[in-house]
Amino acid sequence: MVDFQFSQEEIEFRDSVRNFIDINVPKDLLWAEHDAFSDVHWPKVNEVRKKLGNSGLSTVHWPTEYGGQGASQIAQLMLREEMAYNGVPDAIAFDDGSNLIGPSIIKHGSEYLKSTHLPNIASGESFWCQGYTEPGGGSDLAALRTTAILDGNNYVLNGQKDYISGAARAGWIHTLARTNRDEPGNKGLSYFAIDMNSPGITLRALDEVHGRSGVLNEVFFDDLKVPIENMVGQPEQGWNIAMETLNRERGGIEVVGRARGLLKDLVTYLRDSHIEINSSIKLNDIKIKLGQMVSEIESCRLTAYKVAWLQQNGKDNGHESSVGRLLSSEMWREFSLLALRILGLYGNLYNGVGAPLQGRLNQAYVGSIAESIYMGTPEIHRNIIARIGLGLTNE
């Protein structure tokens, strides 16, 4: 029977996440996404990560035999939403370890990989990044050129990965490389878990236009030796495992959480009249824009939970997470644009004196450039929706 109420367990779980944030996250880390990886913040971020791991919250969705609580995907979504809503940096709650590579190892990994990695991922001891996008490849992930050639007990990797979040702080990377050069496209690819401290890995940091610094890196593999036991799943099965991994990333909930948190702070800012609301027409215009922002955010939020419910119940068709991702990237742009239109000249300030919300809405709008590119461009997601959701083909 149709019922949109969250269960009592889910509500209690959300409360425990709120409680965790109140107690464990230092206030100066909130909304510090742009420099969460800096020397000042990273030690604190890492400490909170470990506390989160030890609390069991980050692996609540894992099966009990691996230390999880077998909770619903909805609970996991709640964790991410609450964290984002409160401005907790992504590195803490939107963690590649517990969310992406952990579940992939549980499903496809050998006993060796499970015993080596799952305890450290669960405890927050290891921090992971992901290496998919390559220069010259971009959205065409299957065109990737990084090669992995078998040499004794190792694969030797050569190639380059681009726009890798958190690479400078990560102990491990999950990535794809071509093990069979005779197989083009998405065939011939294998999935690896690689120690970032291995000889043969070098990094180059990239700054982003919306003020994030030290988050993204280019990652170079030069004659990088990776033991064969670090392959996840079978040779040449990498594509399917990677698609499954990335599917878990696409619901769009963290954008929803961020937008809800920013909206709450914007309302407070407006109520405290930092901007003079000098006529009822102006106030009404603001209310209409705020109402529109809520309607965009809530549509996106409901879709994210629907996608989780479908996946959890094995009822998803495969295109729904792309709908969620498409919706969330569009929402972020619309939401931040409306906020800037309310703020007028103040909206142009991105930091310092006079900048509303320390410039976070300004950064949100500039950041919508990136938001519409990573985790699959809207164009790629439309392709997926048309192909899988509607059966349209190119031939």
Binding site: M1, V2, D3, F4, Q5, F6, S7, I74, L263, V267, L270, R271, N284, I286, K287, I288, K289, L290, G291, Q292, V294, S295, E296, E298, S299, L302, T303, Y305, K306, W309, L310, H319, E320, V323, L326, L327, E379, H381, R382, N383, I384, I385, A386, R387, G389, L390, G391, L392, T393, N394, E395
Partner: protein
């Protein structure tokens, strides 16, 4: 969280689809476009036989006793089949209002009458000011002897041409807060002083201007408490907006389906137009809007079934689906190319439905403003 329809709902939906495919073919819809009332008696009496006209009424008044959520599965199919006629006005709006606020005598008379297919009731609420908030209600109700006299004009009265009775909102008292002093009355369309002037509405919807000139009514025609009838208007707004959201997903699915089917067949440049990415992206946008709308609409219907009429999520649903149904129908036309603006192609009925729905029961700005009332600004 559970998004599954019950077995009973699924069966009802399938039965509705099957019934409407036979009894409400496109040929009937086309015929009704220029018809004065849009009302097909045969279809109406068959729906009465199926129990649809009393679907959400108690069994003692010839009803089936189902919930609002149950009824929405039928509404979705009605939206898909573009079913003409006064079902929405009579059952979804007026019937439910009489069920929730009517006296026993009123329920006896009107609910039985509606459920048996003998009585059509239309909501006369909006006026020439076009407003959905309480300040829009200006038609005056003056107490006289053992009853009231109604004077004023209602506009955009859906199915006014075919109504046997009107459920009329009126200003019965004047207070600082316009939500006070609102009352609802049932008025026989044959009453002296009632004049119905049909309006030319785009598509298959029928609306009328209804003039009430010194119309005398007995006191037992008052529905709900005198001066405190705004609660009825709020509930009507919720039923109306959510009902239209549900119709939109039914209609949107058909419009999108027509487009996808067409682009899969239509050749151009040595391929089918559906092979081109520009067209595929139009289709993907339609599916995105449709699926998002469906979840929003179901959530809103669930809230109404739970009795939570003044919920932010309901306003979100109407505001968002207003845009989504318009976008879906626009893109469906775009995918069809030239044939899409030729009248023999039925797609325009959906486009026109989306146009009309956008301003019925509060336009998008209205609902955005409603949403803002939940913010502490």
């Amino acid at each position: 969280m559970d998004l599954n329809l019950t077995e009973e709902q699924t069966m009802l939906k399938d039965a509705a689809k099957e019934f409407l495919a036979i009894e409400c073919p496109r040929s009937l819809v086309r015929k009704m476009e220029d018809h004065i009332t849009g009302h097909d008696h045969e279809l109406w009496s068959k729906m009465a036989e199926l129990g649809w006209l009393g679907l959400v009424f108690p069994e003692e008044y010839s009803g089936v006793g189902m919930s609002f959520q149950d009824m929405t599965v039928v509404l979705e199919e009605m939206g898909a089949s573009l079913m003409p006629g006064p079902y929405f006005s009579t059952v979804v709006l007026c019937g439910q209002a009489i069920r929730d606020f009517g006296t026993e005598n009123q329920m006896e008379k009107y609910l039985n009458g509606i459920a048996n297919g003998e009585m059509i009731v239309a909501l006369a609420n909006t006026e020439s000011n076009g407003k959905y908030d309480a300040s829009g209600i200006e038609l005056v109700a003056t107490p006289e002897n053992d009853g009231y006299i109604l004077t004023g004009t209602k506009m955009f009265v859906q199915d006014g041409q075919v109504a046997d009775h009107f459920l009329v909102s009126a200003r019965s008292g004047y207070y600082d807060n316009p939500e006070e002093g609102v009352s609802f009355f049932l008025v026989d369309a044959e009453s002296s002083g009632v004049e119905v002037v049909p309006l030319d509405v785009v598509g298959i919807d029928k609306q009328a201007k209804v003039v009430f000139d010194q119309v005398k009514i007995a006191s037992d025609r008052l529905v709900g408490p005198i001066d405190h009838g705004w609660i009825i208007a709020e509930r009507l707004l919720a039923w109306g907006s959510v009902g239209k959201c549900i119709e939109a997903i039914g209609g949107g699915e058909v419009a999108m389906g027509m487009a996808v089917d067409y682009v899969n067949r239509r050749p151009a440049f040595g391929r089918r137009v559906g092979n081109f990415q520009a067209i595929q992206h139009h289709c993907a946008n339609m599916l995105k809007d449709l699926e998002t709308s469906r979840t929003l609409a179901y959530q809103a219907a669930w809230l109404v079934s739970e009795g939570r009429f003044d919920s932010q999520e309901i306003y979100v649903a109407k505001a968002w689906i207003n845009g989504a149904y318009r976008r879906i129908t626009t893109l469906a036309h775009q995918c069809h190319g030239g044939i899409s603006f030729i009248k023999e192609m039925d797609l325009h009925f959906f486009y026109k439905k989306a146009m009309i729905n956008e301003s019925l029961f509060g336009d998008t700005n209205f609902h955005w403003e409603k949403i803002a009332t939940f913010l502490d600004i």
